[in-house]
Symmetry: C2
Subunit: 142 residues, 2 copies
DNA sequence: TTTACTGCAAATTATTTGCACGAGG
DNA sequence: CCTCGTGCAAATAATTTGCAGTAAA
């Protein structure tokens, strides 16, 4: 059988995810775990993340181009969405989820909805303020 | 200045994206371009994709864990969302987008919305039919 | 002619895998 | 004990970068 043993590695990873309560990347997890267990390997992180995902305890989020983020689920039916600031990369919760009507519509057409993701990005209040002070030429070069 | 020249590489890549009119990965683009230009390098694909993205002619989509997909924009304000079948990986269009109320709400709170993504996955009609025929034990091992 | 764009090879980065050892039950 | 999980090193895979030659303008 698989992933039954209660290792300190697994518990640490799970704790970090629980305490964060926001999407964290494999790297973030690693740099925290390594403080407690200096010899831990990244492969251990990935293997445990995989296990947790298969047990439906965490969700995956692609919030940017180069890393995957993982979020602990308080309960198995929980689902959350996020807002990312392109300026400071801060991650905020999206308070509501307007997808249910669409889902029922799709189910009518024979598609079985398993999951969905919503993500919004833009500039947060703080960053907007700063770029105003700086003379609103923040996105000259795009 | 950058990305001004009309090279055959760039035109081919753009044509492939136009004809596809659905999200395609860098690899798919490569394997099509290479038939016309056998010596083309992948780096050329990536550099051109980058340029097209910076010119706001294409959008990026993270439809799965391991590749990024690119979609040509008919016009600069167009935006589309997708539904992916976890069975056959086929990509369908999501007919409507219910995000506007949320966006105006967020703008009220001082967040400047630049972009958003919605994605739904599940099992399409075809795949559902097949797994029914197969005895609905399609996801025994998850 | 000029200098941006390309092909090639090597470098990076995130993630995965094989294997022998060590720890959990 | 006996097997699963780990650390380590090497392997993949996607993407990026440096550089010298080539081709748009």
């Amino acid at each position: 059988m698989e992933n039954r043993r209660n290792t300190k590695q697994k518990q640490l990873i799970l704790n970090i995810l629980k305490e964060a309560d926001r999407p964290v990347s494999a790297n973030e997890i690693y740099s925290k775990v390594v403080k407690e267990l200096p010899k831990i390997a990244k492969s251990t992180i990935y293997r445990n993340i995989d296990a947790l995902f298969n047990q439906n305890l965490i969700d995956k989020y692609h919030l940017n181009d180069n890393e995957v983020f993982y979020l602990i689920k308080e309960d198995r039916n929980e689902h959350r969405h996020f807002v990312i600031c392109d300026g400071c990369q801060k991650i905020f919760d999206l308070p509501s989820c307007p997808i249910h009507e669409i889902e029922t519509e799709m189910e009518k057409e024979g598609f079985i909805v398993k999951d969905h993701q919503i993500q919004i990005n833009g500039i947060c209040k703080e960053c907007a303020k700063q770029s105003q002070l700086a003379g609103h030429d923040a996105d000259h070069n795009r």
